[in-house]
C-alpha cells in the first residue's frame, strides 16, 4: 500500500479511535473526585502500621513489593536483550571501523566541561546515596537514586575520557552490579518467607517513623533496586557507546 493510502486509512481509523477513547474516558470519575477505597485505606492505615512517612515508597517496596519485583525483572530482561544484540553486532564486524573525519571532535573536551564534570561527580554521587537511603522518609527511593548514581560515571565520559570510564566502570563490574541488585531483592523476599509468613513480607523491626532506619526492609529493598537500576543504565550506555571513542582515543 502506498504511503498516501496508508495515511488516508489512518486518518479514518485515527479519528474513530479518538472518538472511542473520548467516549470511553467519560466513564471515569470526574477529575479531582476519586473515591477509590484502596487508596483511602492505605493513606489512613499505612503510617501507623509501617512507620514510613513516604506512602508511595512504602507501597512500592513493602505493601506491593511483589509488583516491583516483576517490574524490576522487566528492566533486567530489556537490558540483557540490549547487551546480547549489541555484542552480537560487535562480534560480527570483520574489522574495527577506521577513524572518520569527525571522530577527533569528541575525544578531547574543553576545560570548562572537564571542570564542570569534576564538580558534578561528587554532587551526583552524594545526591544518589541520599535519595536511596531516604526513600522511606521523603520523595526518593531506589529507582530515582539508581539513575542519578549512574549519571556519575557518565559525567566522566562527557569529559572525553572514555578509557577512564572503562577503568571506573568496567564491563564485569557493571554486569555484576546489575545482577547483584536483582538477586538481592529476590533474596530479601526469601527472608520474608523464612522469618515471617509470606514471601516479601516485612520481617525486620520497624523502628520509629521519621528516623533513617525505619520501615523494616524498605531501605534494603530500595538499595537493592538502586544498585540494579545503576547497573542497568550504565550497561546500556556503555554498550551503545562502545566502539566509537575507543578507536578515536587509540589513534591520538
Amino acid at each position: 500500500m502506498s504511503r498516501r493510502g496508508r495515511l488516508l486509512l489512518f486518518g479514518c481509523a485515527g479519528s474513530g479511535l479518538l472518538a472511542v477513547l473520548v467516549i470511553g474516558l467519560h466513564g471515569l470519575p470526574p477529575f479531582g473526585d476519586f473515591h477509590g477505597a484502596y487508596g483511602l485505606l492505605v493513606d489512613r492505615l499505612e503510617p501507623g502500621r509501617r512507620h514510613a512517612t513516604d506512602i508511595v515508597t512504602a507501597l512500592n517496596f513493602d505493601l506491593r513489593a511483589f509488583d516491583t519485583l516483576g517490574e524490576e525483572f522487566i528492566l533486567f530482561a530489556s537490558v540483557t536483550g540490549v547487551a546480547l544484540l549489541l555484542r552480537h553486532l560487535r562480534d560480527e564486524e570483520d574489522e574495527p571501523p577506521r577513524r572518520s573525519v569527525d571522530d577527533h571532535r569528541f575525544a578531547g573536551a574543553s576545560d570548562a566541561l572537564r571542570l564542570l564534570s569534576l564538580i558534578l561527580i561528587p554532587l551526583l554521587v552524594s545526591l544518589g546515596v541520599y535519595l536511596a537511603l531516604h526513600g522511606a522518609l521523603t520523595p526518593g527511593g531506589g529507582f530515582q537514586a539508581g539513575v542519578v548514581l549512574a549519571a556519575g560515571p557518565l559525567a566522566i565520559l562527557l569529559a572525553g575520557r572514555y578509557l577512564a570510564l572503562k577503568r571506573v566502570a568496567p564491563h564485569w563490574a557493571v554486569e555484576a552490579l546489575d545482577g547483584i541488585g536483582a538477586l538481592a531483592y529476590a533474596a530479601i523476599g526469601l527472608g520474608g518467607l523464612i522469618f515471617a509468613s509470606a514471601y516479601l513480607e516485612n520481617f525486620l523491626p520497624l523502628g520509629t517513623s521519621g528516623h533513617l532506619l525505619s520501615g523494616g526492609m524498605m531501605p534494603l529493598n530500595s538499595i537493592a533496586v538502586g544498585l540494579e537500576v545503576t547497573g542497568a543504565f550504565l550497561l546500556t550506555w556503555t554498550e551503545f557507546l562502545d566502539q566509537d571513542l575507543l578507536v578515536a582515543r587509540g589513534e591520538l
Binding site: 477529575f31 479531582g32 513516604d54 508511595v56 515508597t57 571501523p97 577506521r98 572518520s100 535519595l131 520523595p139 526518593g140 527511593g141 529507582f143 530515582q144 539513575v147 542519578v148 549512574a150 549519571a151 557518565l154 543504565f233 546500556t236 550506555w237 551503545f240 557507546l241 566502539q243 566509537d244
Partner: protein, 89 residues
C-alpha cells in the same frame, strides 16, 4: 482544576505534538527532553513529587543519552559502509 494545572497540561500537549511533526531525529531528541520537563512540571502540580523526580532524571539523563548514542552508532555504520563501497570500486 487550577490555572497552573491547565497551563502545565497545555505545555505537555504542545510539546508532545511538536515531537511528532519534527523530521530530524536529533532535533526530536531535544524536544523530547523538553517534553520530559513539561511532564515533570505537570506531575509536580498534580501532587506527585516521587513521580516528578523519576521523570526528571529519566527524561534529562536516561533517555537522551541512549537515543544520542544509538544515533551515533547508526551514523558510524553508515560512514563505514560508504568507505567499504569506495574501497570496493
Amino acid at each position: 482544576m487550577t490555572a497552573l494545572q491547565a497551563v502545565a497540561l497545555l505545555l505537555v500537549v504542545a510539546a508532545g505534538t511538536a515531537i511528532v511533526f519534527i523530521s530530524d531525529p536529533l532535533r526530536q531528541t531535544l524536544v523530547l527532553s523538553i517534553f520530559g520537563l513539561t511532564l515533570t512540571l505537570l506531575f509536580f502540580v498534580l501532587q506527585a513529587p516521587d513521580v516528578a523526580l523519576s521523570q526528571l532524571v529519566v527524561g534529562s539523563v536516561g533517555m537522551p543519552v541512549i537515543i544520542l548514542a544509538a544515533l551515533r552508532k547508526i551514523a558510524q555504520h553508515a560512514s563505514a559502509r560508504e568507505r567499504h563501497e569506495e574501497d570496493g570500486e
